[in-house]
Symmetry: C2
């Protein structure tokens, strides 16, 4: 007999390369594997520990890139080897979700699942737990694709927004629209209406529900994993993934399914969330020292300097004089100094560094 918990699964998406945090985060050691706040836990470990009160450890699946195999096994030694799925190529979130859902269905046809990125910050775990429990209850009783919508704290232009429609049950509503990242003015309008919530990228559904949605909305992806399910031998399946996964389109679950399906719901929540997607977001979410600087894992002596974020790997002394609102990130062989306001340039900078020096500093 299954208990309720034993049908609940968690899929941690852990294949990102964290390029926006270069050089603190590197392709060889992306941000989910870093002890970002110097607490002793990496973001991946925090994600794993956060979900443990709701999902049994043996029901936690990690989807990652083959090159991070050692990092995942080292950071999550309790996870079952067969619960780590290694993507042979980076194809955004839709193929990842389809594979994980089809994997879970092959173990437990009645399974339901939460999908969460490995590199988000959630500061209030009790409220997270309650929200996720409500979400599981809802999707287990309804043919629903449920996304968590975060009550916005400010007119942020770095997030997509979800507009709520008809209220269904408590803080669960039909989704009216998904929006792209708005400009500042639009974001302020969104906030003033009270109808818009940040798209967290955290989802709940039964595996049967999401796989049906793939059938309808992204049949080419659905077909690929459906064939995989017909293989009974693990090695055959592994070989199939290795040869066919890369043929999936690189597309997000939002674009591929959520924006097309008609059974999409949002649970509006408030549990101290950040996707830690940018240095500025990290700065906003981190405790400041008395000079209003944020220091990640380093000693800082600062003079006439404020609003900076210092992120350094390893034990290092940073001495800074007369610097305001900069990112200073040191990764041993690379040092970045860039105004926080120019952080969107970092992607171009990484490209330039690649053009000049190859993979050496990437």
């Amino acid at each position: 007999m299954h208990t309720k918990n034993s049908h609940r699964y968690c899929v941690i998406m852990c294949g990102g390369i964290g390029s926006r945090f270069w050089p603190y985060s590197r392709t060889s050691l992306p941000k989910q594997f870093l002890d970002f706040f110097g607490t002793g836990s990496t973001l991946l470990q925090m994600t794993y520990e956060r979900i443990l009160p709701i999902v049994n450890a043996e029901n936690i699946i990690v989807v990652t890139n083959a090159e991070y195999a050692d990092l995942v096994r080292e950071q999550l030694p309790d996870i079952k080897p067969e619960n780590i799925l290694y993507e042979p190529a980076r194809r955004n979130t839709a193929p990842c979700v389809a594979w994980a859902a089809s994997h879970i269905r092959s173990i437990d046809p009645e399974g339901s699942m939460i999908v969460t990125p490995a590199d988000h910050l959630i500061t209030r775990q009790p409220e997270f737990i309650e929200a996720v429990k409500r979400g599981f209850d809802f999707v287990e009783q309804n043919d629903a694709l449920l996304t968590l919508g975060i009550t916005p704290m400010r007119p942020d232009t770095g997030y997509g927004y979800i507009q709520v429609g008809e209220r269904i049950d408590g803080n669960i509503s039909k989704v009216k629209t998904f929006t792209e990242k708005p400009d500042r003015q639009m974001a302020e309008v969104f906030l003033s209406t009270g109808e818009f919530f940040w798209n967290s990228g955290i989802f709940l559904w039964r595996t049967a529900t999401i796989l049906e949605a793939f059938d309808k909305c992204a049949p080419e992806i659905a077909a690929l994993f459906k064939h995989c399910d017909t293989l009974t031998d693990d090695r055959q399946r592994q070989h199939y993934i290795e040869t066919h996964f890369a043929s999936c389109p690189a597309i997000s679950i939002d674009y591929a399914v959520m924006e097309k399906a008609d059974n999409v719901y949002v649970e509006t929540v408030k549990f101290g969330w950040s996707d830690l997607g940018t240095w500025s977001a990290l700065f906003d979410h981190s405790p400041k020292n008395r000079d209003n600087n944020v220091t990640q894992n380093c000693n800082v002596l600062s003079y006439d300097s404020s609003g900076n974020i210092f992120a350094v790997r390893g034990e290092k002394l940073i001495v800074v004089n007369g610097l305001h609102d900069y990112i200073v990130a040191d990764a041993g062989d690379v040092l970045l100094i860039c105004p926080k306001a120019d952080e969107q340039r970092i992607r171009n900078i990484v490209n330039d560094a690649h053009a000049s020096f190859g993979d050496k500093f990437i």
Copy 2:
């Protein structure tokens, strides 16, 4: 029979700790031991090679601190072991000069000597050679303490100035006054008169002349080394230095002797000189890249950044965006970011770092 050259000696003062270039220069590896310009030669090696056409290698004496013994032997493998004098304590330049002069006299009572810091830059060696030859000729024929005065290029407030008096011979004059570092207005007056020259800290004299001057102007220092000379055994002398050197006052040769003696002369010269005493001086003397930045031993990708000096030990990529007129110095375990205009704060910063972390980062 001695040839003319064989009575000529060079004393390289090599005991400084280079604290103004912290953290690029560290107590454990001060600036004279660094390949400052990435040319393959350290400042000490450049000083040694610069003097070789005038002074025989076996007549070159290095005075340094005991803790730099290995560095000197490694960087100047051709120097005779007995020509390296190890100061057991830092006592500024007067005790250093008195010891070296008394050491040379014990080898060669007719010796004359040039005293030079190990960490200056001289860009035009042929003119340096000519100036030093003229200086040697002058002090060998006169009871003269000769200092080299650099024709000033700008109203620099970082140097002491020498005012010339009566002209003696070509570009050799009596010294009228030594001045402290002037303020900007005074420096401009100095420049406009044509009578003031930068005090280079490079001196020439016969050992007999300087030791007589010590007798008159700094008898307590003179007495100490006079007693040392009475000891005939090397080990006795070494023991004597180790137990008595620290009792010398810490005083510069300028204060102790040059400003008091009446046989002081200046040879005015022009050979592309800098004492490399400050980051700004280094910036001014270094080749700039097309964005007007100076890079010492590092790869730099810069965007909207100019007037900076990047000094990094080891192979490292510096990426900088929107930074102007800063010093960025990285020494592995310490990173300094400071406006060039605030470089005088670095001494205080080093003190603060010492107060907070002990010797660790000094």
